[in-house]
């Protein structure tokens, strides 16, 4: 587990939730130029360090380890792509790669999903 990562994968964080359902990872690499949103079946629970993320469909649990990242995940749906979301949330340019990595992790566990409307 990368301690410095902004997001913790369920496997590295704690026991997965009620189920142990494994969903095949999306084979396509994460594309930040597309429009994204928090998945419809995902709930964000605010925590002092960020948020707990829960997927009602695959019952996976994950943690966002910074409040700015929570803001980014919530704001995805209002912007046409990832870079514009990061700018809107005033994430410093130098940190953009780390945020893209975190979002890629979240897309692999289906916590965020592509959205059809731009």
């Amino acid at each position: 587990m990368a301690d410095t990562a902004l997001v913790t994968d369920p496997a590295a964080g704690t026991s997965p939730a009620a189920g142990e359902v494994t969903i095949p990872a999306d084979e396509l690499p994460f594309d930040p130029s597309l429009p994204w949103q928090k998945s419809a079946s995902v709930a964000l629970r605010p925590e002092p360090f960020g948020a707990l993320v829960y997927h009602f469909g695959n019952r996976k649990l994950s943690f966002l380890k910074s409040k700015p990242l929570v803001a980014v995940v919530k704001a995805l749906a209002e912007h046409p792509d990832v870079p514009s979301t990061l700018r809107a949330c005033e994430v410093p340019e130098a940190q953009h790669p780390a945020y893209v990595t975190a979002l890629a992790t979240l897309s692999r566990s289906q916590m965020i999903e592509k959205r059809s409307t731009p």
């Binding site: 587990m1 301690d3 913790t8 496997a11 964080g13 704690t14 026991s15 939730a17 009620a18 189920g19 142990e20 359902v21 709930a43 629970r45 605010p46 925590e47 002092p48 360090f49 707990l52 829960y54 009602f56 019952r59 649990l61 943690f63 380890k65 910074s66």
Partner: protein, 410 residues
């Protein structure tokens, strides 16, 4: 509230860093919690962690239990581990199951299988968001029934057959590892696989009636070593409830949360609504409050003094000076408490051997803390475990011994 912990500096949550360090300071709501619905149980397992058997007349009513579920939904507690006692003997169990699922609170429940007939198995297979684990403490009837009672192996196997036949997915076989079954891990895995189920193994705690049999049943040091190796080899396919984190001091960290989550990320709600730091700590020293009090569960979780104390990393005590402290974090609080060891010292099963010396150094006069909460059956129970010897039942009436007893025939 009795102070149970050594004094510590006031909690100051760090920013960033490892998730496990954040967890030490607690969460706004538990990740999950254990909810024991009733103290009633058809069995009388020798090691029952909650000393269950008889129903408590003060148990939460259906309406009160629904109120707790509503509150868990508001707090975004996404799933609960339901147990007992035997939860399925509550007549409203199936209603509460549906009610929880309907309110975004997933349910994983533990059962000995007594009510899982074909119809119930089919019902569960049709229900999303529910998980079942069947308790089994021996891969053979001989080993299981000595601890759980005659016939309990057969009951569990029937339930597993019913679930498999109904097409239930991802159900679990839940095993407490003991000295008597530690050699059966591969057999448990094979048995579980044969039903398409998943194996879950957890640690025996000296809690409840477990205190009476812990000396006899807790795995030996050699067995702990074997268990650790087995978990490293099989860990990915086996669930542990993160209960073996004290074994991490053998070397490599085991998968999962290597931290005592009591009062920080987990807790227990008992059948009468009392909130304890963890399922293995049913004792007044670990009682944080009751869900019936004003403010309900949320106020207990967020404001109890006990939980505030627990959300404060251990900084002193013998263990913090040990090179393995970062791996095992001092082990299990309940295991220390119920064996009479100091909470900032080693776990009684410390794999570096400090637990054994601490146990040996206990004062001979020491009376280990005993919970005043005991719902054990008072009389004999059908098929009761033979671990502690065959039950002797005193005759109720003198003529039960002999029809002629007491008669003066002269």
């Amino acid at each position: 509230m009795t102070a149970v912990l050594p004094p510590r500096a006031p909690a100051q949550r760090p920013t960033g860093g490892k998730l496990i360090d954040q967890f030490e300071y607690g969460l706004d709501a538990p990740i999950c919690l254990t909810w024991e619905l009733t103290y009633a149980c058809n069995l009388a397992c020798a090691h029952c962690l909650s000393s269950s058997g008889r129903r408590d007349p003060r148990e939460l009513s259906t309406a009160e239990a629904e109120g707790v579920i509503d509150e868990l939904q508001r707090m975004q507690v996404f799933y609960v581990n339901v147990g007992g006692g035997e939860p399925t003997v509550r007549p409203d169990f199936w209603h509460l199951l549906d009610y929880a699922i309907g309110h975004d609170v997933g349910v994983k429940f533990s059962t000995n299988g007594v009510k899982l007939n074909k119809a119930r198995a089919a019902q569960l297979a049709r229900t999303d968001y529910v998980d079942v684990q069947i308790s089994l403490d021996g891969a053979t009837a001989e080993v299981n029934d000595r601890v759980r009672g005659t016939g309990s192996y057969a009951t569990a196997i029937t339930a597993l057959e019913n679930l498999a036949e109904a097409g239930m997915k991802d159900f679990k076989v839940s095993v407490v590892v003991t000295r008597e079954n530690a050699g059966q891990l591969d057999a448990f895995k094979a048995l579980t696989d044969s039903f398409g189920a998943q194996l879950r193994i957890t640690r025996l705690r000296p809690s409840g009636r477990g205190a009476d049999v812990w000396d006899e049943l807790h795995p030996t040091m050699a067995q702990q070593k074997d268990l650790y190796q087995w978990l490293l080899a099989n860990g990915d396919g086996v669930l542990t409830g993160d209960s073996f984190f004290h074994l991490s001091a053998f070397g490599e960290a085991l998968p999962g949360l290597n931290l005592c989550g009591a009062g920080r990320v987990v807790c227990l709600i008992d059948p009468v609504g009392d909130v304890y730091a963890c399922p293995f700590a049913i004792h007044e020293n670990f009682l944080a409050g009751n869900v019936r009090s004003p403010g309900g569960f949320q106020t207990v979780w967020q404001q109890s003094e006990l939980f505030a104390d627990l959300r404060n990393p251990q900084t002193g005590g013998a263990c913090t000076k040990c090179q393995h402290f970062d791996s095992c974090r001092g082990g299990c609080m309940a295991a220390k408490f119920f064996t009479g060891l100091p909470l900032d010292g080693p776990d009684p099963e410390c794999v570096q051997g400090y637990g054994e010396s601490a146990l040996a150094a206990r004062d001979l006069e020491l009376v280990t803390p005993k919970s005043h909460i005991d719902h054990s059956h008072k009389g004999p129970v059908r098929g009761q475990p033979t671990l502690l010897g065959m039950p002797s039942i005193p005759p109720a009436k003198i003529c039960d011994e002999s029809p002629l007893a007491g008669l003066d025939l002269r």
